[in-house]
Amino acid sequence: MKKNGRFYFLDCLYLLIMILPILGGIVLRVLTHPAESGVSIRGAQVFCTIPMPVQDLIISESQINSWLVILAVFGLCLYLTHGLSARFPTKRQVVAEWIVEKTEELVYENMGPFFKGFSPFICAILALSGFSSLLTLFGLYPPTSDLNVVAGWAILVFILITYYKMKCGPWQYIKSFGDPVPLLSPLNVISEVATPVSMAFRHYGNVLSGTVISTLVAAGLSGLSAILLGNLPGILGEIPFLQIGIPAVLSVYFDIFSGCLQAYIFAMLTMLYISSGFPADLYEQRKLRKATIKSVSK
């Protein structure tokens, strides 16, 4: 493909779509957040409240940051798929192909051939969850530490699970609660409802606990530093030297490792719940039966 000025212009545009949201988020954070020190564990900052029935709609940092992530991922997609060619793959094309092939492989291995179309959805979960958690690297509020955000994803997954369970008709779905004995049906109902709740709380709790522990450790180190090194003369006594280095290690674990791991766990659980809830054998039988009825009536 011939690279001309237009190509480079579009490249820059896509890169800007990718980078500007993050920069904008940082600017917004700096402008709206007062400088703070000490222990302060709070939820997302509220930007505006729109009156709605039942409950007011609150636009907070989590929503804004989620949109920023979506915008950045959109820019990334545009950038990676810019100038695709079948014969001469560029570096970014290799990355794009790798993403697509790996997610398709993952979905195929965990869900089987029937759910082939699920790879963009799983990729969306991985990207949204992973990048949302990784926003903490920029000092931004991670939307995944807001219960509402993760609950929304878990409910969507729950809807999908139920939809695929109902593929064989509502009667089959209701009957499945009586397995293995009808006596256990209350437990089955509870476990059904527990699925999205546990998914939401697991993800949210892991990310939030990372933030909480990081904050507590940072505050603790600051206090310890004041006790141990407070006697140093002049300004040296005011600098919390112990805060250097140690929080970074925690950040590597809680922000990077835990964030990516939780995204992976959420995606894995989604795949497993959806594919295991789907009665594949019954569905095949049903399809066969319908086909035979159709052919007989003809």
Binding site: V46, L84, L128, V149
Partner: protein, 171 residues
Amino acid sequence: MQTLQVISVNIWQILISLLNLLLLFLVLKKFLYKRVRKMLAERQAAVEASYKKAEDAALHAQEDELAWTKKMQEAEVESSEIIRKASVRAGERRDQILADAKEQAAGIVRQAQQEAALERRRGQEAMKQEIVAVSTLLTEKLLDREINEKDHRKMMDSFIDEIGDYHEGNE
């Protein structure tokens, strides 16, 4: 500015988040998966096409090879035929040459024999003459008398003939 509690539930936020995930799903599907899959399909088609081409070429080559081996076999048969014919002809020619040579040799031998026989006869004749002359002279001298040369010669001839016959019988 006000902040939310650490744990707060808001159904509208939940709904927004749900829609966010759907939105990102659609974005990824449209802008990443669709494009990459289309490109992969194109590549697959190109690869298939080139494979097809290669297979066609291989098939063609095989046909060519078959034709050529057939031709080679024919040529071999032909060449062996030619060689066979040539050797047959050469054999004939050789026989002819040999026969000619033999004939010639026989001719030469016969001629030589004839010549030899002629020579011998001539020699015999000369010797006869000589002997006759010598014996005549001898007898003339020995006997010292006039003899009828004519009678004498006759007698001598018969004598020499006897000797010659004897000679020939010994040979």
